[in-house]
Symmetry: C2
Subunit: 211 residues, 2 copies
DNA sequence: CGTGCGATGTATCGGTCCGATACATCGCGG
DNA sequence: CCGCGATGTATCGGACCGATACATCGCACG
């Protein structure tokens, strides 16, 4: 998951670890707490070893300079390689079961702007299926096993069930939207859909809407 | 977290691993997917080594019998020890930061029937605080950084924000309910609050309703 | 002027938990 | 009688977290 997210972010621009974490936190804030350095740095090493990212060595001020004072480690900027882009595309295409769990789905969704429509639809539907299953499980427990459980546990299940139903509805809207070929914005009542998205030209896909 | 849940469940009755997993799944179904054996069995060993649970050896049919045919491993039933109960009480009392994250809160909530009212209140309020912080973070991103993010990412944040607001409201209700000393049931429309819970005498608290 | 502190920045270590895998037993239907 | 799905215990490698350590930079406050 982290691998996927890093590869996705580095496609927008080269970054160093600290920055990467901040961007990750901003982009995935709805999904999970801040990523830990204890996973970030080892993963960066792994990706570099695999050849999917490379160090881009912070502009050393016209060479000559920098007399290695105190060894001056400085920030390590990473950028994605061609192989890395390939890897990312491959990770998008093949959807394992982990693509539909809470974190996996969230991360994939966050990079939908770099995902082609067919895949978006597939992921959205897979997620819906998974949530529907969880919902049925909760309904079962609330129906059949209700007597065995205490009031607090039951309340927890009810709240969970509520969240499931809500998410299914959300997914339905997104799927319908996606099928009709329109932009992602869902009619939300408040917080009217800002559109525009002046981000860097989404490479290849997403540019269905030709001006 | 797993340690806490196991100790909590084994207080209701002795169980073997497989059974434990099923009960865990039923009780925590709203929170997380089924627990993995890859964590369950090692944790059981750890708890046993610490002296918090012991093997209760499935009734060996009046001894003598069982000629070790094919070594007959059979099911291993665990039960909680006095030290284990102490440990559980201690884990309830001390609330670290992990008590308020999604999983930690869920697990603690699931055992609220074994938690005294003051602690319930403290946990509920801690959780509310945490969710409010997450909510503010999302509002910030949706306000300030909205232009930098693509439409899908924004939609994800909106959905997350929605979930936060909903959970805060849920917590408010629970807290109000708790303060007024009443039972946990939240006015939900459907599924009126069943009470009873004939499990072993909840130690000290929760037994407001004496027959 | 210095000094200390919070933000920036890289890195490791131990521990928890997951997913895959393996393997044995039991009861039941074909 | 055979297979197959449920029951049941167990291990291994890997992902990720939380705590911790340490170094640099800028600036506010004395």
């Amino acid at each position: 998951m982290l691998e996927f997210a890093i590869l996705g972010l580095l496609q927008e621009s080269p970054m160093h670890g600290y920055e990467l974490r901040k961007e990750l936190t901003a982009k995935l804030g709805a999904i999970r707490a801040a990523i830990s350095y204890g996973s970030l740095y080892p993963t960066l090493r792994r990706l570099q070893a695999a050849g999917w990212i490379t160090e881009a060595a912070e502009t050393p001020a016209t060479a000559e300079e920098v007399p290695a004072l105190t060894s001056r480690r400085g920030r390590v900027v990473y950028k994605i390689t061609a192989e890395g882009k390939e890897r990312f595309a491959q990770l998008i295409a093949q959807a394992g079961p982990e693509t539909y769990d809470d974190t996996g789905f969230g991360v994939h969704f966050a990079f939908f702007a770099r995902t082609d429509q067919a895949t978006r639809l597939r992921i959205l539907e897979g997620r819906r299926r998974k949530i529907e299953e969880r919902r049925e499980g909760l309904r079962d427990v609330l129906g059949r096993a209700a007597e065995r459980l205490d009031a607090y546990t039951l309340e927890l299940q009810r709240h969970g069930l509520d969240a499931c139903e809500r998410e299914v509805r959300w997914l339905e809207e997104l799927i319908a939207n996606e099928r009709s070929g329109r932009a992602p914005t869902v009619p939300h009542g408040t917080a009217g859909g800002r559109r525009e998205d002046n981000s860097p030209p989404p490479p290849g896909e997403t540019r269905k809407e030709r001006p």
